[in-house]
Amino acid sequence: MHEFLAQLANGVELGAIYALIALGYTLVYGILELINFAHGDVYTFGSFVALGILVGLRAAGALHGAGLILGIAAALIAAILASALLNAGIERLAYRRLRKAPRLAPLITAIGVSFMLENLIELWQGSAPVPFPNVIPNPQLQIGALEVGVQQIVVVALAIVTMIALHFFVQRSKLGKAMRAVAQDRDAASLVGINVDRTIAMTFLIAGALAGVAGFVGGVSFGSAWFLNGFGAGLRAFTAAVLGGIGNIAGAMLGGFLIGMLESFSTWLIGGQWSNVAVFSVLILVLVFRPSGLLGETLPEKV
């Protein structure tokens, strides 16, 4: 029981990170029907930006007392801004002019952008993993039979707050409504006066911001940033988005948590070398038996 709870908590922590990334895939897919393969690398970029800020602040001796909270906030905000702008920039430069092209063209472009980002990040940070500063004090707390670290609580709390904020943004705000309208029918949306280009750009901006949060919490949770991190994490998050039903926001969150728990439990019960097999078997099974995902509606076939 003790161990089950510990693995569950770890699965939730991992799942929170995957869910944040999966939301980025799903938002973009929802509005453009494009699988943005560069999204994982936007996450890596966010991680490195947060790392850079924290290392800089620590070198300046600013990470003490109240400075620690401010420093963490600064790193988080910088990661959010950097990833959001990067993702919006990618949309503007690489995808916008392909919006009327056959669906395969932007898809291949996304893969190309992903490789480019990976190589640029490698050029910038080198090919070895870079240690992420241990900024969040991590005493272990005993809550009933459950033992969790403070860091774990912070990671999950940050992710959940972000997701709640996203939910209200999409459901209540004017821009959120515009996003949903464009996702439903782009032409009709523009007929009622919605600026489609701006709405799509905003969607990329928000997806990037989520990747930035994920980059920060991922760096904190794993303790390192690496130029290829986004590839593996991106694939798992993509699996999560498909599992939940791609294009469906609640589905991406659910899928993220399920994939995180699957990874944690398969490592516990079968062995670490099989966790990838377990995760990607789920991708295959979902695609074969329920292509629309757990919460997705059945859509006519798209890429």
Partner: protein
């Protein structure tokens, strides 16, 4: 000699070659019996930027065709050695590698296959130790440290898996308990699920077969995130740089290195000083080994010259003078060297280091005899 001197291996190849050059220069300066001088003929086994077994084999044939070549130093890599050993075995010429560590080059069926042209004769020697010896030394160190219950994790790669296998075997043989084993998938980022599982076994320590970059660094780091920070962590010569990733969290890590501690050997200090003076750079990872391999070859040749009445000896006479058993050990910067019947160092020394306050400190060393 034969080494990789260009491409990706160029820097280690060159610093290894410098070790050879230094040994030859010192021998010539001291004077060789019979008025001979030693010369280095450097051949590169790189093709298209990577060390290449075929190129190595062809280099060795070139050297053998030259009658004045009495010994070959090299190669650097195990796969090149596997291509060269059958040729030097057939020719009966001494070959000493500074760095080829794969067990199969000297041991078991694999080695017998390499020597099939001349099964009774062994011409291949190496001054480095093998993966398996390091694993068994680690098992003894662990028990010395009163660490009796191990959980073993490896990275599923050749080096890491071999090390973990030997450690598991010898640790059990010496009375330790292996609670369980796990292999990690490449590029894993989250080790907490694995660590939580290990935590349930209540081990005294985790043994890791692999390198810092294949998971050792993150594994050690994340131990703190699941409340296992105080647990000991041990590995081989793949993790001396673990503090670069795990920082202060590396404290409590033990690792083995297949060489004596340089501070304990006056010969090592002298070597480092002489190397820096001659080449103006720091010693490479295998410079000292190359120097030692060359000293062993030079001593064998010199004794063969003397035994031959100060005339040029044959290759077989040089081979006969290679130090074996307890006699004629050659004192080198990496310790006294003589070989066993397989061609491995008879008394390999394995050192144990611990990381304290983010720095490596020497704990003890073990002389592994046959």
């Amino acid at each position: 000699m034969d080494l990789p001197l260009s491409g990706a291996d160029a820097s280690v190849g060159t610093s290894t070659l410098d070790g050879i050059k230094l040994a030859v220069a010192r021998a010539n300066a001291k004077g060789v019996p019979g008025g001979f001088t030693f010369a280095v003929q450097a051949l590169d086994d790189t093709q298209q930027g990577v060390h290449n077994p075929q190129q190595g084999a062809s280099n060795v044939r070139t050297l053998i065709a030259d009658d004045s070549v009495l010994a070959i130093i090299g190669p650097y890599n195990s796969n090149v050695a596997a291509a060269e050993i059958p040729i030097t075995n057939q020719a009966g010429i001494v070959q000493i590698s500074p760095s080829a560590v794969s067990d199969g080059l000297t041991l078991g069926k694999d080695a017998a296959m390499l020597r099939r042209a001349n099964p009774g004769v062994n011409t291949f020697f190496r001054v480095c130790t093998t993966d398996s010896r390091q694993g068994s030394a680690a098992a003894r160190f662990a028990l010395d440290l009163k660490l009796k219950r191990a959980y073993i994790v490896d990275d599923n790669e050749t080096y890491g898996l071999d090390l973990a296998n030997v450690f598991a075997r010898d640790f059990t043989k010496l009375g330790g308990t292996v609670l369980g084993r796990d292999h990690i998938a490449p590029d894993t980022q989250d080790f907490k699920a694995l660590l939580l599982k290990i935590k349930g076994y209540k081990p005294d320590f985790i043994f890791f077969g692999g390198t810092t970059s294949t998971g050792g660094g993150l594994l050690r780091r994340q131990m703190f995130d699941v409340g296992m920070g105080k647990l000991a962590f041990m590995g081989g010569d793949g993790i001396p740089d673990i503090a670069e990733v795990a920082k202060k969290r590396a404290d409590g890590t033990y690792y083995t290195v297949a060489a004596p501690n340089a501070d304990l050997l006056p010969a090592a200090k002298r070597f480092v000083a002489a190397y820096k003076a001659k080449f103006g750079s720091d010693v490479g990872p295998y410079s000292a080994n190359a120097y030692a391999a060359t000293e062993v070859a030079i001593s064998a040749i010199e004794r063969a010259i003397e035994a031959n009445g100060n005339k040029m000896p044959t290759r077989a006479e040089v081979l006969a003078k290679i130090p074996r058993g307890a006699k004629n050990e050659v004192l080198t910067p990496i310790g006294p060297i003589s070989f066993d019947t397989n061609g491995d160092v008879r008394k390999p020394v394995i050192s144990l280091y611990a990381i304290r306050n983010g720095r490596s400190s020497f704990i003890e060393q073990l002389n592994l005899s046959e």
